[in-house]
């Protein structure tokens, strides 16, 4: 009865106008936002500086687009003046990036059964858009028309209870995609030939027999070990290495049945893009029972130290710590806290292992900071080469946790293994901060009224963009943290701001419509402010500086 539903996509592409909008012939660096993080190093940085600290107060909306869906955490792409937007329920749109005019839309039949939220990002190459669907397919669409060109099922979502990572990345001619789900399952990262859809390799994120680290699992627990690759990775074309943060082991909050470090869960992995083989791994949370994912983005930066350029990887863990690694070797350079409320460990030792870490236990309630929601989650950081600083968020939310007795489970079962009740940190307040990415020195702290669920964008205009759960899109001074601009969008913000230019005019785009689990906590953990939390909409707002009136002064 259920057979065949998976691929019965009945993909409907509505082509409204095949012609491309008129754009300037000369495209400058930064005019496009060509991939999830703006560049392959996961900086979330725009080199555009038309909008700067001096004029940002005049930033005004120029167009908006309502997706008709609920929630909008999408990170749009912009290539050659066309914006590509992934809305909930696998609803894709191509829009004229200057005017907001709809060019095409694409909808897939929504599969039934247990699947997660839609992906939020697209990638693009060879005139094709690549998108991971709710039913765990990777599809390629003709960017001009929205027509599906190829479609490959990554794994039957009804068996793995999984869906694709929030975004995909490109490594030259390969599309790299992860897998998302909190069930008894062995996670992986896949590579597909971008032009043909042929699978090239699969790297399993849980070490099986013959893999280095398999001895960190007992028995056959590696078969169900978790290691989802939730968010998105980065890529160094010179080293030809794909970097990805691996998620938590399973069961999530009970570790009694899996003695050992449980590699490569809660690790950053470096994978040879050509072969899919592991180059190195660095584990941040061994034997985890607190859901301290390594899922956040691996940020690739080059730093001059003592006359030589060091190729570094800066990586935030949900545990409240940031790790700095040599990205060629995986060797630890340093680890430092990016959050204030950290109670689960006394610190990180010289090898990068937590000192005397707290473990979740059956029947024992413990207050743990940060909570399983993380010091931060998919709300990614930004790095500005202009300031040399790394910008990140901390929720400052804790949780009372206890493990639950384990029931027998099999592949695809949800084995959470515990209870939790999140609460605000009693002693600290949520914030956004600028850090020296190597030393962790905090350059400024911008306290937020409630936890901030939006990813961050840094621009060459020395601005940091984001938005709050009450719907205010804002800009901060990248050098001081002072708020310089805001605009009420009418919907809570959990989407990544981006910046691009068309015809010499810089635009800032941000989605409005709360759709992140931490964001949904706000009215509960801040009940005195709940009346200010707007209903969930789904609208993209695009801002720019007002254009001079005819004959007027610029």
């Amino acid at each position: 009865m259920r057979a065949g539903r998976t691929l019965r996509a009945a993909a409907a592409s509505i082509l409204l106008l095949a012609t491309r909008p008129a754009v300037a012939q000369d495209r400058a660096p930064g005019d496009d936002w060509p991939n999830f993080f703006g560049n392959t190093q996961a900086w979330s940085y725009s080199p555009l500086d038309q909008v700067d600290r001096g004029n940002v107060a005049r930033l005004a909306p120029v167009w908006a687009f309502s997706t008709g869906e609920k929630g909008l955490s999408a990170t749009p792409l912009v290539v050659d003046g066309v914006m590509y937007l992934a809305a909930p329920r696998d609803h894709l749109f191509a829009l004229d990036a200057a005017s907001g005019r709809l060019i095409w839309s694409h909808a897939r039949e929504i599969p039934q059964g247990q699947v997660g939220a839609s992906s939020t990002g697209l990638s693009m190459a060879f005139g094709l858009l690549f998108f991971g669907t709710m039913d765990n397919h990777l599809i390629a669409l003709d960017a001009k028309t929205g027509r599906e060109v190829w479609d490959v099922e990554i794994e039957d979502y009804r068996l793995c209870k999984c869906t694709t990572s929030f975004g995909t990345i490109l490594a030259k001619d390969k599309v790299i995609v992860g897998v998302r789900g909190d069930v008894a399952h062995r996670g992986y990262i896949d590579a597909y030939d971008a032009k043909t859809g042929k699978r090239l390799w699969r790297f399993f994120t849980v070490a099986g027999p013959g893999d280095p680290g398999n001895a960190t699992w007992s028995g056959d627990q590696w078969k169900f070990g978790g290691g989802s690759t939730w968010y998105n990775g980065s890529y160094d074309p010179d080293l030809d290495l794909v970097y990805w943060g691996v998620g938590n082991p399973q069961p999530m909050m009970f570790a009694g049945n899996r003695p050992g470090d449980n590699l490569y869960t809660d690790s950053v992995v470096a994978i040879d893009a050509a072969t899919g083989k592991l180059r190195w791994h660095f584990q941040e949370t061994p034997h985890d029972s607190l859901d301290y994912d390594s899922a956040p983005e691996p940020v690739l930066i080059d730093v001059d130290r003592g006359g030589t350029t060091q190729k570094l990887l800066v990586h935030a863990n949900k545990s409240g710590f940031t790790y700095v690694l040599d990205r060629a070797t995986g060797k630890l350079i340093g680890a430092w806290p990016h959050a204030d409320a950290i109670t689960w460990t006394k610190g990180i030792d010289k090898d990068g292992r937590p000192i005397d870490p707290l473990q979740n236990e059956p029947g024992v309630e413990k207050l743990v900071c940060p909570s399983v929601y993380g010091s931060r989650a998919a709300n990614h950081s930004a790095y500005s080469p202009r300031t040399g600083w790394w910008y990140n968020t901390s929720f400052e939310v804790c949780a009372k946790m206890r493990a639950a007795p384990l029931m027998p489970f099999k592949e695809g079962d949800f084995v959470v293994g515990g209870f939790l009740a999140p609460e605000r940190s009693q002693t600290t307040k949520p914030f956004i901060a600028a850090f020296d990415p190597v030393t962790g020195k905090r350059e400024w702290t911008h306290q937020t009224e409630v936890l901030n669920a939006s990813p961050l964008l840094a621009t060459a205009g020395n601005l940091i963009f984001g938005g709050d759960p009450f719907g205010l899109a804002w800009a901060l001074d990248a050098r001081t943290g002072a708020q310089l601009w805001s605009f009420p969008t009418g919907g809570g913000i959990s989407a990544a701001p981006i910046s691009y230019a068309v015809g010499g005019r810089q635009f800032i785009a941000i989605g409005s419509g709360m759709s992140s689990p931490p964001g949904a906590l706000v009215p509960v953990l801040w009940p005195e402010l709940k009346d200010r939390v707007p209903p969930v909409g789904s609208t993209l707002f695009v801002f720019a500086l007002p254009q001079p009136a005819q004959g007027g002064k610029p």
Binding site: G4, L7, K410
Partner: protein
């Protein structure tokens, strides 16, 4: 076993015609909503507002009130749903029940009965091994990537419920010989105007597109071609679009696989021995 993935997913409830809509206590619903967010939604179980996440959606399910209360108090044995008895006070349980009921605006009645989950027959030990092989995505052949059986698997080739009543030797011959189902899964060759050719199983044809499953790599790639780009489309009659490669399977694996495929028949057989299958070709 694989069919009974999560209790609740197969639960159906009929609305009672004469049940009065339950009285709604807005205060209890709000309090229950807060409790729900920090307990039931968290850990990504029932999702924000009960939309569902790793656990089932609770929206518009029209659960009977007693069913909701019992589930919260006792959990659902055999599923990850734990008992919250002792975790919440009675008034908190009542608030949670009120909130879950509020997720079904049509209201629910008290006299409804949950229908049993459609039961698939139990599998023998060997058939269970065959099921594991059928669904093992790490194998290059990966049966379920193309075929469905007992409700799960892919749509590229025939649903194998059709073969359950055949003899073990006939089933094995169909596998070993890669016998095509030309009527419903015809092999075709598409030549594009640029000269590139693709062969595979035709999926469907629409006014402006033709789709085929390209089986030259694993997993299969579903390709869509605009008709304006197609120079020639020809049937490949008599030629299977795909040859099963059995080299990665032992004889015992194949016997288990056939045993599994026979498990759909009303008179499921005794265990099949590897020697009963016939030649691999």
């Amino acid at each position: 076993m694989r069919a009974a993935l999560m209790l609740g997913a197969g639960l159906t409830v009929a609305a009672s015609a004469f049940a009065a809509p339950p009285a709604v206590d807005a205060g209890a619903v709000a309090a229950g909503g807060n409790l729900f967010t920090i307990s039931c939604s968290s850990s990504y179980c029932h999702g924000s507002g009960g939309v569902g996440a790793r656990g089932p959606s609770l929206q518009n399910r029209d659960f009977p009130l007693d069913y909701v209360r019992t589930t919260i108090l006792q959990g659902r044995p055999g599923t990850p749903m734990p008992s919250f008895k002792g975790t919440f006070r009675p008034d908190e349980i009542a608030a949670l029940v009120a909130f879950v009921q509020s997720l079904s605006p049509g209201g629910a009645a008290a006299s409804e009965e949950a229908a049993p989950i459609a039961a698939a027959g139990p599998l023998s030990q060997q058939a269970t091994l065959g099921s594991d092989i059928f669904f093992d995505a790490s194998r290059h052949g990966y049966c379920a990537g193309c075929h469905s059986f007992r409700g799960e698997g892919g749509p590229v080739g025939p649903d194998l419920a059709l073969v359950s009543s055949e003899s073990a030797a006939d089933i094995f011959h169909s596998i070993a010989a890669s016998l095509p189902d030309e009527k419903r899964f015809p092999a075709i060759k598409v030549t594009l105007r640029g000269g590139t050719t693709y062969t595979g199983v035709k999926r469907d044809e629409r006014p402006d597109t033709v789709r085929l499953y390209d089986l030259s790599s694993v997993p299969p790639v579903l390709r869509s071609f605009a008709k304006v780009d197609i120079a020639k489309l020809e049937p490949l009659a008599g030629k299977p679009a795909y040859r099963h490669d059995l080299s990665a399977y032992t004889d015992a694996d194949l016997a288990a696989l056939v045993d599994y495929l026979k498990s759909g028949a009303a008179n499921a057989p005794a265990e099949i021995k590897p020697g009963e299958l016939g030649p691999r070709r």
